[in-house]
Amino acid sequence: MNERSDRLMKALGDIGADLIAKAAPVFPEAPDTSEHGNIIAVTPYEPEIQLTKRDIRIYWITRILGAAAAIAIIGTGVFLLWKNWDKIAVREPDRPGIVTTVTNDTTSPDTAEPDIVDCFGQITDTSMPLPFEHYDSRYNSIFHDLWTNKFTTISNKLLELSDNDKDLELMNKLSETRCETPYTLDGNDGIMNLYWWMKELDVSVDEVCRAIEKNNEYYRTREDFNDIIYTIEELAAIQSGDRKTIDETFASEYCIIVGENVFSPKWLYYHTIEDYKAAGIPTAELNHKMSSYNELGLTDEAWSAFKVKLSTYVNSSYGADTLAVNIADNGYSFSEKTFGIFEDVFYGEWEPAEGNNADQNIILTYSKDMFTFENWIYPFGIFENDEAYVMPYMSGGVPECLIIRKDDPRVLYKGWWNRTDSNTDYFTDTVQCFGVDPAIRYNRINDELYDRELQTGEIGVWGLLRLISGGEQSNIRPRFAEETYYTIPGGFEGKGYFTDENGTEWVISGTKALGASKVYYLGGDGITSLTLGIRYYEKAAYETYINEHIDDAAYEPKEQYFAVSFTVDENGICRTTHRPLEEVYEEAKTKTYTGATLDYYEGLLPELELKDVLRVGESLSFQSAVVALRAPDGEIKASCPLASGMVGLNGGYSCTAVREPLVKLFNLENRRILIAVGLPLWESEFDRSYLTSFYLYDGDPILRRVEADGDYLEVIVKDSTGISPGDDGIYCTQPDGLILEYHIGENGHAALSPSQYN
C-alpha cells in the first residue's frame, strides 16, 4: 500500500502547471515566526499576465458596452423604485437566534476563536485559554467532532440516491452556519450527518442501507477501510430511525449525550458550570469521560483549566440519585475485613441494571484477580459504615470505587471518589465516594451472596522454590563444589556447561546483562543429592551475544531451563545429569506422598532447610503460597500463608479450600489449619525468603492499627519504594520482597512477629 500511495502522491505532482498555479494557497511571508497553519493576511501571489494588442482591443470594447448596459440597468431600477416605493418594506430576518457567519479572518480557527454566538446563547466561558498551540487534525477533530467519521460523510454511492442540486444546496447551507450549540441530529449547526441528510433529501432509509451495504462489500476487499465499513449494529441504528439509538451509536466517544443533545468536548470547554447544570450534564458520566479528555491534546494550561472546571462540577454533587458515602478513613489496606468482604460482597458476576447507558451494558465479573498490580488497579481496602461497603481503588489513574449498600446487597454501584481533606500526611482524611445514578448499576447474578463455595481457593499452580540466598546451601556447597563448578546464587561453583543428547552445547550465563539467574530447588536432601532448576543458554547463540550484541538490551540468546541433578555415589564422586526442566517439573507436580500425618504448624515456623520443603503451590483465590514441608519430627506438615494482594498483612481467613487438595495430595485426614502471613506469590515462583515470614493466626488480626494522635502504620518493603500510605501519589509499586520492618508511630520495629506486635 505504501508504494502505491507513493506513486499516486508523486504522480499528482506532475499534473498541469495551470492547475497547480490555480490552487496555490496563501502562505505567510515570514515562516520563521509562524508554524504552518497560522495564516496571516499577506499579499496573494498574482501570476503575471502579458497583454496582447487583441486583449487591449477586447478590453475597451467590452468596457464601453458594459458601461452602456450599466446605465440602462440603473435607470430602469430607479424608475421602478420610484413607482413602487410604498410597497417595499424592510423584513425581519425569518430565523430567530441567528448565528453569525464565521468571521472571515485568516487566522487559524484554533488559534483565534471567531466571534460565534451559539443557537442557545452566547458562549459563556471566555476565560478559557486557547486549547491548542498548533493545528493537529487528530486532536482537533476529537475536540470538535460530534459523530464518527462515517456518519458525517455522505459517499458518492449515497449521492446517487438523491437530487444532486439539493445536495449542493445543503452543502452550501453548511457554509453559512456554525453553531457551538449542543448539537442535535437536525443539522441546524453546520455539521453534516447522515440522519439529517436523509431527511432533508427525502431519501429512504432502506435505500440508504442498501447503498451502504454495497459499499461495505467493496470495502471489505480492501485494506485500511475499516473506518468506512458500517457494522451491523450501525446499520440497524440507521434503519431504526430512532434518534436516541442513532446518537448512542454514532456519537463520538468523547461526547456526552443528554436527551437529544450531544455535547462535544469543545462545548464543555467553552461553557460554564451553570450551563452544564442547565443542560443536565450528568456528573457521573462526566467524571467517567474526564480521564479520556487528556487525549484531547490540549496545552498544559488549557488542560489544567479544563480539569479544574470539570472536577468542580463533578464534585458539586449534582444529580438526584447520587449515593454519597463519607468514610472516616483509618488508612488504606489495613482493615481486617478487607479480604473477606471482597470475597463475599464484591466478588462475582454482575449484570447491567435497567437504565444503564449502552456502554455500561456489560456483564462485570469481579474477582480478586482483577484488582492486581498487573492490571494497574490498586485497591485501598474496603471500608464500611452503617450504610454501605465501599472499596475505593485507582484504575489507570481514575479514582473509582465499588459500593454496596447494606440495605440492598444485591446491587453493585460503580462510582468515583475524591479525597476531600488532605491535611495530614498519611491518609487520615475523609474519602467521599460518589455512587452514581441508576445509569451505572449492576445486579448480582449469583444469589448466593455469602456462599463460601464461591471461593476458588484451590491450588492451581505448583511452583518451584527459588533459591536466593547462599546461607541455606552452605551445607551443600562443600559436597558439590569440586565436581560441579557452577556459579549459582548461593555459592555453588561448578561447570557452567554441558552437551545434551542431541549434541547441542549449553552454557550458564556469566554476565548479568541477561538478567538475574534463577535457580530453583526441585528436590534432594542437599547432602547426597540435589536437583536444581538452572537456566542455560545455547552456547553458539550465547557467544554471538557476547561478541556482537552485548549492548543490545533487546537481544536474548536462546535459553532453556534444565533440571540438574547432583548425586554423590558411595565413593564420594559427584555426578550430574541434565534433563529439560519441564519434564521434571511435571513429574514433581504429580508426585504424591503417603504414609505421613498431615498436621499444621503451631507457632512460628522454624527456619527450614532445603530438605524440609516438599512442595510449594499457589492458592488462586488467596494469591498466596502453600507450602508442604517435612517438619523436624519427620512429619509432613503444611502451611498456607495468606496475603491481601497489596501488603500481605491481613488477618487470617479460613483456608478450607486449600486444605482439601493438600489432604488429597497427602492422602490424609483433615486437621486444624493454621494461617500464616506472607507475601503474594509472584509468577509461580516462590521465594525462599517467604518461609521465614510465616506467623500464626489465632483468630485475631495479626496487626492492629494504632489509633489516636495521628499514629500510623507504615510498612517498608524490601527493594521497593513501598506501599506506605502517605506516599505522594496514589500509585503503589508492586510489593516485591520481604517486609523488613514496620513502624508504629515513630518507633521502628524490625521484622514482623506476633510477640513484638503484642
Binding site: 507513493d6 506532475d14 492547475l19 497553519g37 480557527p109
Partner: protein, 186 residues
C-alpha cells in the same frame, strides 16, 4: 522583480537569480515543504536543493508559470527526502494525514487491465481533475498537492469545514472509481 526577469537571470547565469527567487518565492517554498517534512532543517535543505535544481534546469527550460514550476520541484524533492528517510509516517503531521486519505483513492487490485508508467498516471490524474468544477479542483489540490489542512482550506475558500471534508471524500471516491474504470494498476 517579475518572474520573467528572474528567469532571464538564470539564462544569464547570474547568481542573483537564486537570490531573487528566494526573495519572491522562498517563503512559499519553505511553508509548503514544512508541511511535508515536518521540521525546519529538512525544509531548508529541501528549498536549497530546489534552487540547485532550478539552476540546472533553467536554461534550457523557460517555465511559463514560475511558481508552479518551483513548487513542483520542491514537492518532488520533499517527497524523495521522506522516502529516503523512510519516514512517510513521520513526516509533517499534515502530510501523514493527507497521505493516508489519498490511499483511499487507490484502485482495487482486481480488474486490472494495464499498468501505467508515472507519466501516464499523471496524465490520467490531470484529466480526472479537469473533469471537476473549479471548487472541487481547488479543494482537492490544496489538500493533496499543497498539503493544506481542512480548516485552512475552509478559511481560504470561505467554505464550511464540513463541506470541504465532504468534497474531499467524494472526490477521493470518484478518483478511485475512475482509476478502476480505467483498469489502471498502480
Amino acid at each position: 522583480m517579475k518572474d520573467s526577469e528572474i528567469i532571464e537571470l538564470y539564462f544569464a547565469r547570474s547568481e542573483d537569480a537564486i537570490t531573487e527567487t528566494d526573495k519572491k518565492h522562498g517563503a512559499f517554498c519553505r511553508a509548503m515543504t514544512l508541511g511535508i517534512l515536518g521540521n525546519r532543517e529538512d525544509s531548508e535543505e529541501c528549498v536549497n536543493d530546489t534552487y540547485m535544481r532550478l539552476w540546472e534546469l533553467i536554461p534550457p527550460q523557460r517555465p511559463d508559470r514560475f511558481r508552479a514550476f518551483i513548487s513542483r520541484i520542491a514537492r518532488n524533492i520533499a517527497l524523495n527526502m521522506l522516502e529516503r528517510m523512510n519516514a512517510k509516517k513521520r513526516g509533517g503531521r499534515y502530510f501523514a494525514a493527507a497521505y493516508d486519505e489519498l490511499s483511499e483513492s487507490l484502485p482495487s487490485s482486481e480488474n486490472v487491465e494495464k499498468s501505467v508508467d508515472d507519466k501516464e498516471l499523471s496524465i490520467l490524474l490531470d484529466r480526472f481533475l479537469r473533469s471537476f468544477d473549479r471548487e472541487k479542483q481547488l479543494i482537492f489540490l490544496k489538500r493533496y498537492w499543497y498539503l493544506r489542512t481542512v480548516p485552512e482550506i475552509a478559511a481560504e475558500m470561505h467554505l464550511g469545514e464540513s463541506k470541504v471534508k465532504m468534497s474531499l471524500h467524494r472526490t477521493r471516491e470518484k478518483l478511485r472509481e475512475y482509476l478502476e474504470k480505467e483498469g489502471v494498476q498502480i
